[in-house]
Symmetry: D2
Subunit: 129 residues, 4 copies
Amino acid sequence: MSERVTGPGEPTLEALRQRLVDFAAARRWEPFHTPKNLAAALSVEAGELLEIFQWLTPEQAAAVMSEPERAHRVRDEVADVLAYLLQFCTAVGVDPLEALAAKIERNEHRFPVPEEPADVNSDVGDQPL
Amino acid sequence: MSERVTGPGEPTLEALRQRLVDFAAARRWEPFHTPKNLAAALSVEAGELLEIFQWLTPEQAAAVMSEPERAHRVRDEVADVLAYLLQFCTAVGVDPLEALAAKIERNEHRFPVPEEPADVNSDVGDQPL
Amino acid sequence: MSERVTGPGEPTLEALRQRLVDFAAARRWEPFHTPKNLAAALSVEAGELLEIFQWLTPEQAAAVMSEPERAHRVRDEVADVLAYLLQFCTAVGVDPLEALAAKIERNEHRFPVPEEPADVNSDVGDQPL
Amino acid sequence: MSERVTGPGEPTLEALRQRLVDFAAARRWEPFHTPKNLAAALSVEAGELLEIFQWLTPEQAAAVMSEPERAHRVRDEVADVLAYLLQFCTAVGVDPLEALAAKIERNEHRFPVPEEPADVNSDVGDQPL
């Protein structure tokens, strides 16, 4: 899928990050939001996303969004992962968009696009690193 | 920290998501980018971020960005987590910003802000769920 | 595979657990071995085991032990996961064999064996929980 | 804690591994128990164990077993992690005790015990790797 996934009238990542800051402050949760705790929570939520898929065949996994209850869980866990990632970034002062842009640039050098396919009969590239 | 973390002239989340789509397509990595594989990769990268913190005391963890080598690793792992989250969202057709906005709204109802503190001597709220 | 996997002349789980206690004590690592740190380390190592499989097709994954370098990594990560699990159990005073025996008994009640297959044409049971 | 954690009259690790083989066979779960699925399930369960600790202070984490409901969850997640580790070992034909014994021997060479402490005023060793 290469079509647009995020919509034009949406909140920005920065606006959502700020809402999460305000949300935690209003509930006085900041003392819990240490970098180490948030890294643990992020890992836990990524595990919950993976749990949805653990017993699914590739075919079932590909159709996960056509089953309403599973689709809801997927969206919910995506939100949790993104929330903890943003809260972690707040706690350590890292700009996630800048970090990702820098990483993509490094990867474009590390994994140059092959000039022409090594094997013209293959339509699959080498395994990602 | 409540100051702005993402900068004004930055690429948007959607622009980075699209760059990742193009990056994978140019290297013919799409066959590997199934929802199940990407959920696994996301979980693996979240583990690598946690690894930085696993033996650190709370004090060392709070100062993680003042140590250049660790700071670089933190930015790198944040980028990897965000990259796989965006690629996962592409694979399943989920808008991560919309999913997070919806979740924040649900959480604002689930965890209402206490009218006044139960214990005025406490400056820490109940443990987050 | 239902044949014996652990050999008769081997060290017991308890003997290995005790060796890990002595190993950490000799290096004065006990202060790092808190329950929380060890739970994080266990999760990190489980992620490293998963990493070996993240891009493999089911066929490649099934043949993982026929590739010597991957087979070594698998054994190494199995050892790391078991080491941190045993160290975690030491830190919290839980007997892992007793915990597992109790859990298997609970699961035998929760998931009774079907008297006869609901669908005689199916040779796959319901998805595990 | 260096006292014995596993009891003398207990089932062995091998006996429990075999019970898990029989348990899965009786419910016809073997088709789900591929190495890749089991590595994912192991990682998910390790995340559930970590979840118990994610917001706890070091002091609360140290006292986790004195709170009956948390203590039950800890035992339950330890059992789940060990169960999936044993099922993974069955699927790939790895002997977990042998793998751990070999790893401990490698680590004894990699991390020699310091002859005498570098800093006699310190009672904490270098951070584990």
